[in-house]
C-alpha cells in the first residue's frame, strides 16, 4: 500500500516541506527537498527519528546556578523527555569546561551529554562582576 506523507526537514533553517510516497516502510518517491540532506532526513524519520537535546543542569559554586548542556549527537526522539527528566537531577561542581562530559552514554543511548559553555567557579569572578 503506497502512502503519501509530508515531512518538514529540520536540518537547516530552510525547513523544506517534503512530499514522500512510502510503501511497506520504504521510501519510494520524494519531492520538495532542496538538497540531499532532505532525503536523509526522511529516511531517518522513517527508520529511527532522532533529535538534538539542549537543556541545562545545576551547578554548585559557579558564577551562575546553571550550565547549558547538549547531546553530542541526536538522541532517539522517544528518549528526549526521559533524558531531559534525568538531567533535572544532575548537579555539577564549578568550574565547568565547554565540551566536558556531563553524563556519558545517557540512558544507554550511546550518546554523551556535554556542557556547552565554560562556567567559572564563584571565586574566579573578576573585574567583570559588579561586586568586585
Amino acid at each position: 500500500m503506497a502512502e503519501h506523507q509530508e515531512f518538514i526537514c529540520v536540518t537547516c533553517p530552510m525547513g523544506c516541506a517534503i512530499q514522500a510516497v512510502i510503501e511497506d516502510g520504504e521510501l519510494k518517491e520524494i519531492e520538495g527537498e532542496a538538497c540531499r540532506r532532505g532525503i536523509d532526513w526522511v529516511r531517518q524519520e522513517l527508520s529511527d527519528p532522532r533529535r538534538m537535546l539542549t537543556t541545562t543542569v545545576q551547578v554548585e559554586g559557579g558564577v551562575l546556578p546553571l550550565v547549558p548542556v547538549r547531546s553530542r549527537d541526536a538522541l532517539p526522539k522517544d528518549e528526549i523527555l526521559p533524558v531531559a527528566a534525568l538531567l533535572r537531577h544532575v548537579v555539577l561542581q564549578a568550574p565547568v569546561k565547554e565540551g566536558q562530559i556531563v553524563v556519558a552514554d545517557v540512558l544507554s543511548t550511546g550518546v554523551d551529554i556535554i556542557a556547552s559553555r565554560d562556567l567559572d567557579a564563584n571565586e574566579e569572578r573578576g573585574l567583570g562582576h559588579p561586586d568586585v
Binding site: G15, P68, L127
Partner: protein, 447 residues
Amino acid sequence: MGKQGIYPGPSGGEGGYDVAVIGAGPAGLAVACAAREAGAQRVLVIERNTEPGGILPQCIHNGFGLRIFDSDLTGPEYAMRWIARAEALDVEILLDTMVLTMDGAGRLTATNGRQGLIDIEARAIVAGMGCRERPLGALAIPGARPAGVYTAGTAQRLVNMDGYMPGERTVILGSGDIGMIMARRMTLEGAQVVAMVEALPYIGGLRRNLVQCVRDFGIPLYLSTTIVEVRGRERVEAVVIADVDPDAHSGPGGRLPTKAGSERELACDTLLLSVGLIPENELSRMAGVALDPLTGGPLVDERLQTNVPGVFAAGNVLHVYDLVDDVTESALRAGRYAAEYTGPDEAPSSTVAVRAGENVRHVVPQRLHADMAEAHIQFRARTPIEAPTRAIVRIDDQVVATRRLRYARPSEMVTVPLGPEVRPRLADAREVSVHLLSVEEEDTKRG
C-alpha cells in the same frame, strides 16, 4: 563566558579609538573582529552585561553557525567562538559598562562601578545594541495585570540562566521563534504548555521550529486566534481566546477584531509573549540618527552608515534578523566599513533611495551611493507566497538583479547582492525598488 576580568578599560587621553562598538553581542563581536582584520589599530567594545555574548548565553538551543562555522552550535558555543576570536585579535572589551550618551561627533560617555564616568572618543562608532521584546502593554489586551505574564525572552533568561520556572501551565501568545523554542524548553523542564496562540493564519517563526519545538511535543497550535482577556487577580488563572475576524475593523484601542461567540477559556498560570522584537535605538536617536519607521532601525546606506557620518549600525539594531549567521555576516561588513572610514571629510557622493515595492514590507539599506562597490539588499515579504517566487531589484524601470526563491515568507529575510556593474545605471537614477512576485504572476504580467 570567556576570560572575565582580563579586559583592559579605555586608557583615555591617548587619541581615542579607531572604532568603538556599543554592545558585545553577536553583532558587536563580529564588528570588532572585522574592524581589527581590516586594519583598525584600536577597537573597543562596550558591554553593559558582566560577560560578552549578548543574548547568546541564554539561547541554549542549537541551530547557530550552520553557515559561518559549518557546524550546528548552541548559542553559548557560538558566543565562545567569537569571544575567543576577539581576544586573539586584541579587541578591548569593557564589561559591566553602560553607554549613557552618544553625540554625532564620535564621542561617547559611559559609566561603570570602577571608573565612574568615562569619556570615549572614536573615529567611527558602530551601534550594536540589538533589539528588545514587544511587551504586553503594546497589545491592548483587556483584563487585569496579574503576576505570571512574561515576554518569551525574559522567561528564557529565567529558565536557562537563573534557574527559575515561570510557571507550570503556560499559554504562549505569538509563534515567533523564541516563543516556539520556549514551548519546547518549558516542556523539557516538566511544565505543561497548554497552547500556542497566533493571530495570523501562519506561524511567525521558522518551520523547523514548528516541527521540533511544537509538533514533536503535541502542543496545540491555534492559528488565526488571539487572546482577548487575561483572567486572574493576584496570578494569571486563565486567558480567553477567540477567532480573529479578518473581515471586521479593529476594535477599541487598535484591538484585533474577533468573531463574537468564538471566545473560550484556557486555564493556565503563566502567559508568555512572543509578539515581535523592536530594534533598540535610544542612543542612536540621541546622536541624531534618522530611523526608518518600517524597520525601527536606522536609515543606512550600503556601507551600513547612518545619516550621521561615522556612525554605523549592525545586527538587530538595524533590522531584526531571523538567524545569527545573517547578523554575523552583516556585522562583518559593518566592521570593515567602519575601519575604512577616514573621517567626516570623506567626499560624499550622491545617493539613490531604495524603496520597498510589490509585496515587500521593508528594505535595508534604504539608500545606495552612486559609486558603490557592493550592496546586500535585505528585505521581507509582506504576505506569504507558498510557490516559486522571484525577488527582483529594479533601478527605475530596469531589472538589475533577480533571485529565484522556492517561496517567500514574512518570517524569512531575503538577501539579493548587487555588484559594481550597476553603477552606470545608478548615476542618474530616480530610485531603486525591490519586489517579490510569484513566478506564475510575473509570467502573466509579462503576457
